[in-house]
Symmetry: D2
Subunit: 382 residues, 4 copies
């Protein structure tokens, strides 16, 4: 019988919802060693926290994150707040001996990230950063294919994350839905928000990135700030593109923007190896594109694999429906949680840990530095 896992989530925004949903669903579909119990939701506005608690079935709510962290009746602290709050909450939770799931990116900068890693490792608590796209079944399948050596030597890795939601100069910075445009809350723009996903997957799939040359741009220079009500300079990167070298000798090409008209959340990657290639995109997340050079010549072609085979062929899909029936975005969080709970039971780290997420932070930092310096920058630790 699964043991109860008492959950406190800090942040009831978009990520608070995706995480709450995962806790509600995970035991319906996975044989997990812990049965999550929603104990407390924490957020800035009490009425909203209460409404959220009612809607999702939380036993209580609070506006004080410290109460969550310090509560002995909480087993896991799940951090779903803006980036500038990650470090202090995570460090406090680690000290309190909680298991921790933290939204990405890990921190505002490498220094914070290093402190966070030190804290969780000193405390010896289970920890995970929510780079959820690793656990879209097609992306997980890509990793399995790579690990099986099916690609051979890798020549190229390219990834994009394209959106278009901030093209209008009327979109403000700061506030609930738009804190990602406020450098104080977010630390950076597309680099920390979107490229961090691309980089996390790339490091997982293709190993360390050693050096980068980046180009960043802020197309809309000033936006009204929701909290001050004033038009203020925009401190984030609206767009960032970089070229890089991987430790394995392959070349990388990455781009992210919120100014690609027509694309909403188009995270794409493609890997070209000596023997085969893989491609994927988030707009059709249930498909993996696969080209295998060893297929017979006249019949070679890119395969569109519908990653919905519940017969055991495709990662996680035996838990869901029947072949041909898609799952969606939210399921990546369920998979992540199922893996994390299993890791907790087995006392094994589950990727990406804070330490692994710090490697992504280092790449992001090198990218932002290069964007400013106009020079190739080495990546710390790689």
């Amino acid at each position: 019988m699964a043991k109860e896992l008492r959950v406190g989530i800090i942040g009831y925004g978009f990520m608070g919802r995706t995480h709450s949903n995962a806790y509600c669903k995970v035991s319906h579909f996975f044989d997990v060693p812990f049965k999550p119990s929603l104990k407390v939701i924490c957020g800035l506005v009490e009425a909203e926290a209460k409404a959220f608690a009612d809607k999702w079935g939380y036993a209580s709510h609070t506006t004080d994150w410290k109460k969550v962290v310090e509560d002995p009746a909480i087993d896991i602290v799940d951090i779903c707040v803006p980036n500038n709050m990650h470090a202090q909450i995570a460090i406090a939770a680690a000290k309190a001996g909680k298991a921790i799931i933290c939204e990405k990116p890990l921190a505002l900068n490498p220094a914070q990230g290093e402190e966070m890693v030190a804290a969780v490792e000193k405390a010896g608590v289970p920890n995970l950063v929510s780079f959820n796209y690793r656990r879209v079944p097609a992306v997980t399948l890509a990793k399995r294919i790579i690990d099986e050596g099916r690609l051979g030597r890798i020549f190229h890795y390219r990834a994009n994350f394209l959106q278009d939601w901030t093209i209008s100069a009327e979109v403000p910075q700061g506030g609930v839905g738009t804190w990602r445009l406020d450098v104080a809350a977010a630390g950076s723009g597309v680099t920390g928000d979107l490229l961090a996903h691309c980089i996390d997957t790339a490091l997982w799939h293709n190993g360390p990135i050693t050096s980068v040359s980046a180009l960043t741009e802020t197309f809309v220079k000033q936006r009204k700030h929701v909290e001050t009500g004033k038009v203020q300079a925009v401190g984030i990167d609206d767009a960032c593109t970089f070229i890089c070298r991987f430790g394995n000798g392959s070349l990388g090409n990455f781009e992210s923007t919120r100014y690609a008209r027509g694309h909403k959340a188009l995270y794409t990657f493609e890997i070209n190896g000596e023997k085969a290639s893989i491609a994927w995109d988030l707009h059709d997340l249930h498909r993996l594109k696969w080209f295998d050079h060893k297929d017979e010549g006249a019949l070679r072609g890119w395969r569109s694999i519908h990653v919905t085979d519940g017969g055991g062929a495709h990662p996680y899909m035996d838990k869901w429906w029947v072949p041909g029936l898609q799952i969606g975005y939210e399921h990546s969080f369920v998979h992540q949680l199922a893996d994390f709970l299993e890791g907790m039971a087995q006392k094994k780290p589950v990727s990406p840990t804070f330490r692994e997420a710090l490697a992504t932070q280092y790449v992001c930092d090198a990218v932002l530095t290069s964007g400013k310096s106009g020079r190739w920058e080495k990546v710390k630790g790689a």
Copy 2:
């Protein structure tokens, strides 16, 4: 505050899971007037019913469907068992005054269906048949587009539902996962299982079908029966294709099979109107294809609409995530339930009612009859 809705589900198979999931999720995402409470799950094997109850949080379990139907502490009876059980359970539930959701197809045959309609209408209970694909947002959007008159006069409606899971002669008939191959349990093969979906959508989108000419085939003539252990004649249709006339003057073309190698659940439809066309398929259910002849000549083309706009543009999508992030198959059941609960509160019928599903049953019946007679057959009531 939402009133409690006490739920009893009969059948813990594939559909028992999709419905249970919908009851668990609906109030997290929709502001529903009733808050579902999982009271009892009913199924054939007690240990399995118990395990299901534990996994999904049902308060109790039983192997006797009559206990569910007669229990005064149950508000809604949800029928997720094979087709040959629908009529008796639904009629009993109606007599007991329960709200009823019944899996499709409505019944084994029109006679049963008529009895069921009479029962629910006499009892005045809320009733719905779970043709869930109507509530895939792209399919709902198609209906809205049609209702807005954007297609003009309709010339053609074509739909397919292609699978490949019964090609092997080793697949048995009867039993838990394979009752759909047993004519006694299923009533028919692809016609009731798959074409019924296509027909339901077609009637909804395009109005009555008046006459049909069909071709049916059973490719594998004998299969071992799970319950008897003997090789027996297969009584279902493995494949069925038909041509038809709609009441509005348009021509229809439908095909379904479980022998289309490479397709798992490829439900597709396309509608060609004087002014515009629509196409959709279940393998990429979050997309709608749209061609509008009034677009400027040089720039005309089929649009691939990513039906994920949470800003209010796309049906149901304001309840989920952010633009670009897909939902999946299971969500159609959540939408269906949300609408049904809303209808119950407002004391309004919610489509497709038993009566509406009977119209689909009539078409299926005409199709099966035509497949045998080799003649054009008129559709009852159309």
Copy 3:
């Protein structure tokens, strides 16, 4: 050294252009045993015939097709006129001992077709009907795949040919660009014009069609006739859909229309076999879709084969450019001509001969008959 082949083309319309282009190009790309020499173009209006001759480099022009047929200095007569002229020209050309290429469909009806077959077979002249789509490389590759037994037992064959150019009631019947709407000139509508292509490919790929049930419709009942200037009843089928049985036990489903808004020349086919499936469409004619069930489970998917491999893997493509570079519609005529010339040199028939095209005519006739009778009709000779 290639011998000269003296060419006379009758008809300078759309098909006159595609055939002229083939004669001009064939020896530049293929090592053909005959070098075509454009001797005479024949057409209704002398000034137009002359202009065509100048543009394409014909040595002469005429308005009298009999002069072409009777001219001893002509080796091959190529018939590119409306369907109602095919029989008399072909029969005369056969009597005169000419090699003959005739545009499809073979004739207005089976009786004419039988006479034509008798004439060419009695005369022993090389003869071919221009079902050019057989020689789109992807379609030819499909045939090769089928012949290699890679599909196993065939269950389903489906094909569509969808256009939208006659939706407007203002499109006239009769005349140069619109004779296809005039039953006197065309014999039938989409059945002879479009379905004939689908049927020719189907017979080639999948063997005889034995019986059919069809539905035909004329959406626009009256159109102005270009020649009479009067509004007259439309005698052709605007749309035709039929279901059928093949001799090999598989089921067929065909549809054609000129009322499918958004589709210009969307000829599609799909074949589902026990072991594999194939699909193709004319809007991306350089691609073949291929699903092979023997591919490893987790990596199975529909392949999109870019049929442009000049290294010998793909039919005809070694004659053109380099891998990745498409050819287009017109090349199917060049391939057809290259094969026909090779057959002439080797004194071997080249498919589809008049006799083979007569089999297609029989299917078309059964389809049109069924459309009127409302009954299943047997196909002559199958």
Copy 4:
């Protein structure tokens, strides 16, 4: 009546064939002011030159390019030889007063290119560099859309040109089919061969590139040389990716490689503007992808425009077949030639002239320099 244009082509390889084909076809489809007459083909091996002349109908052949250039009976010199021969032939042809079409890239380096520009401008001869992809109808349509201001402010331009034909270390350098791997003949690798196309289109579509940061790699360091028979160091770039700034403030991202397994000639570009976006790829060259933000919200989506409308809507397509029927790669050369002949008649320069191609050469040079220097490099003249 069109005047004769006496053509001499130097080089009978792949490009010699594409250009010969264009001269043969152009007057069949376009009303051109000059009628090309194939006078002489020139190439290294006499027997091959003779065979080519026979196949294509050239009046004569030679192995000495100077004879072509100096022949008073030649009006146009068409240069289809490796890059290291372009300058001397073009300069001599200019001095001899010939019209000149030269294959891309213009030259081995900017210094050569500048000499060539000076020569043709001094001589006042019509001149064009064969960046043929500009005249794929979809690419030409993209230019028209941009010029009409439909995209608004441009934020991003990205282009790739991906191939996979040199992955094997067994592919040699030098010689007929592989001179592109020999730095002495080619000047550079993918930069001059493939990125030059991407850059030409980009400059045309989006204006000057001002600065670049590039990453180049040679994956296979040594290859056997066909001419020397020895294994020698490879001097070309196997892969090159660069980021850049355009003069209009947009960001660019370009990548090319011959090591992208599964891609044969995948030239792609995408342009993101404030109001709309465009995308295209060479593997489906007859389609243009178009997203227009001003489309109604619920129905917004990427359009796939089948650029085959002969009714005048799509560039060049009124010259070919009927809507829905594709043209291919070779037609871009026919269009280029038709435009060049028209320009000659009107005594107007036709883009891209040598001078315009020099701008592309400058970007290539900056890219190659940056690949070596590891620094951002300014582009000359921009």
